[in-house]
């Protein structure tokens, strides 16, 4: 498995095939004289901001801190939750709609979209 090719930026779905987002970043741990190990997947604007040129990343990070429902806090999924590494998507063992991965979707739905007639 190659992390950049097979994991990073892949679509994440829950057990019911509901999209959760994409693998925006990976958390690795280096223990002394052990090979590095992936311990978690990160999602969110703050994680993505780190992958942009610094001036742009800082701006987006500041915006996310102020306006996002998670206050710019990335959402972490433990690597143990990965159920299947597919070619098209990575299946995660969580209940999507209740997870923090969909905080922004939920906030936007409850505060804006659902209040418009016909939604």
């Amino acid at each position: 498995m190659e992390l950049a090719r097979d994991v990073l930026d892949k679509l994440l779905v829950d057990g019911e095939h509901r999209p959760l987002g994409r693998v925006d970043g990976l958390v690795l741990s280096w223990a002394a004289d052990e090979p590095p190990r992936v311990i978690a997947i990160e999602l969110g604007a703050a994680t993505l901001a780190q992958r942009l040129p610094r001036w742009l990343g800082r701006m987006i990070d500041a915006l996310a801190r102020r306006f996002s429902p998670r206050h710019g806090e990335p959402y972490r999924l433990d690597w143990e939750r990965v159920r299947r590494l597919g070619r098209r998507e990575i299946e995660i063992d969580i209940d999507g709609p209740r997870s923090g991965a969909l905080d922004t979707e939920r906030w936007l739905r409850d505060h804006v979209i659902a209040r418009i007639p016909g939604a």
Binding site: A4, L8, D9, K10, L11, L12, R18, P19, L20, G21, R22, D24, L48, R51, L52, R87, R88, T104, E105, R106, L108, R109, V112, I113, A114, I116, G118, A119
Partner: protein, 404 residues
């Protein structure tokens, strides 16, 4: 039998959905200024478009992933952001352009200024997206768009010298107004090779659950549908060349082209022009707004579907809502709709390398395109198109300054 119906429907959809503000206006300008001489640029653009549309459909059918999703997964976030910025900014301007087309058609019909129509038109577009499904939008509006066949009827009834028309399909150096000539070439290619169409088409293939068995449908729709669509653009050039050019009309405003059908189609000419402009631009506005939402939502891995209720795809719906809220701004500020059209089409040409460049990589990737990877001919065409796109991107801005 079912496939045959799908092919027919797909072809009708591409013909009815082909003309929009950009192709209508730039074709009319080309005909009015240079006769048949610029027909080659429509043919060239249509040929590139056929290959690109076929590829985006094939990629979606084989990978069962939409173009923006493959783009992010295969080329990574940093690259995706660049494409998102380039295609996104241009799509916003094109959306404003199409709203302007509908608004101007309403001005022609009612005498009330397009500036007052901008917001109601955006609201109607939003309502259709909010309540409609993908099928209603794609098929319904495109079937209505068949009214644009009026241009083909008019072109045939004008009895052009077909040998002169055919001669226009061969590129020639302009005898006069060279800067304006090349400016229109860039505009026409920008209007014909519309990047948003690739995202729209590919998302549609996924919404309609295409698989490998749809590859023949895909090929037929791309080749036949786009060829007939390109023929409609050519018909606009022919009509403009035979009606506007002899009368010395220079198209600097949509109203300059409003009577182009009248000498041929009599008192049906004006209403048919207005209806064509309104429906063609309305259909395109819906497609562009949706393409923007597809691009963003698929790239970030949000739930997306035009067939779902807005509340089940909140961020997706929020993108097209925001786009339609902001798109009337240039019109409200009083920017001339035809000026806006020309600027948008020239900038589309600038964005082409970012939009088309990735196709070469994605269509050669075994993980995504599998055994249906590009063959040598497709690769050659994309490479030539990319080279063309780079040239267009470089010359576009200077030409707007000297030739616009």
């Amino acid at each position: 039998m079912k496939k045959l119906l799908e092919i027919t429907l797909g072809i009708v959809t591409s013909i009815g959905g082909f003309l929009e503000a950009g192709s209508l206006a730039t074709s009319a300008q080309a005909g009015a200024s240079f006769g048949f001489a610029l027909l080659w640029s429509i043919a060239l653009g249509t040929l590139c478009l056929i290959f690109l549309v076929e590829m985006s459909g094939r990629l979606a059918a084989v990978s069962r992933m939409p173009l923006a999703g493959v783009l992010r997964a295969r080329l990574g976030y940093s690259f995706f952001v660049i494409v998102l910025a380039a295609v996104g900014i241009v799509a916003y301007l094109v959306l404003a352009t199409e709203l302007g087309g509908v608004a101007y058609a309403l001005q022609l019909a009612t005498g009330v200024s397009y500036r007052l129509w901008a917001l109601p038109v955006a609201l109607v577009c939003w309502l259709i997206l909010w309540k409609g499904t993908f099928g209603v939008i794609e098929k319904g509006v495109s079937v209505l768009g068949l009214v644009t066949v009026a241009f083909l009827v008019a072109a045939v009834r004008l009895h052009p010298h077909w040998s002169a028309v055919a001669a226009g399909l061969v590129p020639t150096r302009p005898a006069h107004q060279a800067a304006h000539y090349w400016y229109l070439v860039v505009n026409i290619l920008g209007a014909t090779i519309a990047p948003y169409l690739l995202y729209f088409y590919s998302a549609g293939a996924v919404e309609d659950e295409w698989d490998e068995s749809h590859l023949p449908v895909n090929r037929a729709v791309a080749a036949i549908g786009m060829t007939f669509g390109g023929a409609l653009s050519c018909a606009v050039v022919v009509v403009a060349a035979m009606v506007l050019l002899p009368r010395g009309v220079r198209v600097d405003d949509y109203k300059d082209m409003a009577t182009m059908l009248s000498p041929v189609l009599g008192h049906w000419g004006f209403p048919l022009f207005v209806l064509s402009l309104a429906i063609a631009c309305l259909g395109a506005a819906l497609e562009v707004a949706l393409s923007l939402a597809y691009l963003v939502a698929q790239g970030f891995g949000w739930n997306w579907s035009e067939n779902a209720k807005p509340r089940t795809a909140a961020r997706f719906s929020a993108v097209y809502t925001a786009a339609l809220l902001l798109a009337p701004l240039p019109l409200l500020a009083g920017v001339n709709p035809l000026k806006l059209t020309n600027i948008s089409m020239a900038l589309t040409a600038v964005s082409l390398p970012f939009a088309i460049g990735p196709m070469l990589l994605l269509l050669n990737d075994e993980d995504y395109a599998g055994e249906h990877r590009n063959g040598p001919i497709s690769n050659l065409v994309v490479m030539v198109t990319i080279a063309l796109a780079f040239v267009l991107a470089v010359v576009s801005i200077p030409l707007v300054v000297v030739g616009g």
